[in-house]
């Protein structure tokens, strides 16, 4: 039988990767490459929040807390112990995962609005600690002088190199969350979101799964934070405020709750658009707010809804040339 079919989304993902790989050849301005680097970090954050809020349905208004914990841990490990890049960001991700347990434990007992407010409170506590634990975090002065990453013999230095570093991390993050959300874990989390009691009756420990969502989502947000710390070489509590949590949440909601392609598109849209529409600078936050409000009012499922994403993942691209029927005997 000669009939080749590939998933459409794989073709698109592959195409997008090729475009992103060759883009620095055409987009040579360091400034634009940095913007894409930041956008890649937001993609990681949005995709990881989507796992917690979209898939598992656990609304979190404190995602910036994981991001900040990851960034500060990575920076402190690197600065104080002159640890390598890999060790620093892995430490950041691990501490964020532990934070995920601490956020998740109270969170899994709470529902809806209570959960949202509790995560907001935790996010604020993290900000207050970063701001006031001056012996370690230097408070509002922030942490300067985070060195360039050295990965084996590759010293990440120029904007192009940072671009590729973020691209690798973002691609791996997307791949991991795609695999997770299409696997058993994703299935259970969606089921927990839609009807937790029904899931419990099948003997599944829903508490554990919800906790897992926070740990994994928090871990990757921490990874993004570590990457951000190295990329910008200076971090301060201002980078991880409540606004940041809201921007990440807006990306997920505007893209489509529960939809992985939606989160990617939402993150790219909200992080790239303001940079390329510079005249909108003063209106950046108000545009986010308006978009969030209008989206909820008129298209609550988001730009690329979860439903759309599910059928998109099933679409096949036939590689058969048109007009020729290879299936002999099949009328």
């Amino acid at each position: 039988m000669f009939s080749k079919e590939v998933s459409l989304y794989k073709v698109i993902a592959f195409g997008a990767l090729i475009v992103l790989l060759v883009m620095p050849m055409f987009l040579q301005k360091a400034y634009y490459l940095r913007i894409f680097g930041i956008a890649g970090i937001y993609v990681m954050l949005a995709v990881s929040l989507n796992f917690i809020s979209g898939l598992a349905g656990q609304f979190s208004l404190g995602h910036a807390a994981f991001y900040g914990i990851g960034a500060y841990t990575a920076a402190l490990v690197s600065l104080n112990f002159s640890a390598s890049f890999i060790i620093s960001i892995v430490a950041g991700a691990l501490v964020s995962m532990i934070a995920g347990v601490f956020v998740g434990l109270p969170a899994i007992r709470l529902r809806q609005v209570y959960l949202a407010v509790a995560t907001l409170g935790l996010g604020e506590i993290v900000r207050i600690v970063l701001l006031n634990w001056t012996d370690v975090t230097r408070g509002p002065m922030g942490l300067p002088g985070i060195p360039n990453p050295l990965i084996f013999n590759w010293e990440v230095n120029s904007a192009v190199e940072y671009y590729y570093l973020v691209l690798i991390f973002a691609a791996v993050t997307i791949f991991v969350f795609h695999a997770l959300s299409r696997g058993k874990l994703g299935l259970v989390l969606r089921a927990v979101r839609d009807n937790e009691q029904a899931v419990r009756t099948t003997g599944i420990n829903t508490t554990l799964y919800k906790l897992l969502a926070f740990v994994i989502g928090g871990g990757f947000a921490g990874l993004a934070g570590g990457l951000f710390a190295f990329m910008s070489s200076y971090i301060s509590p201002d980078n991880f405020m409540f606004n940041e949590s809201i921007i990440i949440l807006a990306m997920v909601v505007i893209g489509g709750l529960g939809s992985l392609p939606g989160s990617i598109v939402g993150a790219l849209l909200l992080s790239l658009a303001p940079e390329f529409l510079r005249f909108l600078d003063d209106y950046r936050m108000i545009t986010f707010g308006l978009m969030l409000l209008l989206m909820i009012l008129f298209r609550p499922e988001g730009l690329l809804s979860e439903h759309w994403a599910n059928s998109f993942f099933k679409k096949k691209l036939s590689l058969k040339p048109r007009g020729i029927n290879y299936d002999i005997g099949n009328n």
Binding site: V113, Y114, N132, G289
Partner: protein
Amino acid sequence: MFVEQFLNGISLGMIYALIAIGFTLIFGVLNLINFAHGEIYMIGAFVAFTFVTIGGLSLPVAFLLSIIVAGFMGVLMERVAFRPLRKSFPEATLLATLGLSIVMKEAATLIWGPETHTISNNAQTMFKLGSVNVSLSQVSIFVVALLFMIGLHLFLTKTYWGMAIRALAQNREAASLMGVNVNLIISVTFAIGSAMGGAAGVLTGSYYGAFYPSMGFLPGLKAFVAMVLGGLTSIPGAVVGGLFLGLSESMASSYLPSGWKDAIAFILLLLVLLIFPQGITKRKEA
């Protein structure tokens, strides 16, 4: 010193209580949280001081006008972010009011600028009460807030609209069957809750002599904590919660470095939510 901290705490607590009452009223009727409530507080302060500085009105007149403006904004807010979403998923209003709060804060920044505006007023005048220094604005906060609370109590117990609000909070369908105009009463609830939020904004603005576009965020959150402490649906509870929070913050600020003061509210919030995950008072499942 202790007495002065105590008086500070009471003033702060009365402000939290006023904002928390608005939260509680809206939560009681709709079982939803208005995330933009803190922004009403901010708008209230800005409107009043615009009336004073540009309109040349006296503070009490500006105060009354800005309460009316805040009330109207509350009604408008309900139309925009609550009514269309009544049948939507539970977090929809949360997200919509979050979006709305960003829009309001940014709009205020665009109109009035991001900087902190200061006013000099005679509200800071201190006078001696026995051996204790009291400022005029502390007294006015206490008196005005108390008047609002008594007025609200009378309104809720003695008037038709007030009783209709309580009826809605108990059972919306039954109230509707008894001929209560549900949409109207919800609008009235928002008007009153927001007016009190706006009043709190003006009082704080004159207390500290300063106001800025992001001033609504922390008091809004803390008032929410006060409401949770007070059991979510109880107005006396919200007042007690507000006073408790105000007092603990001002007492703690004499023992803790000032930066840590803001953490108290959130730690209290987490403790309460952990011990009573569904709120302090048991509510019937919707």
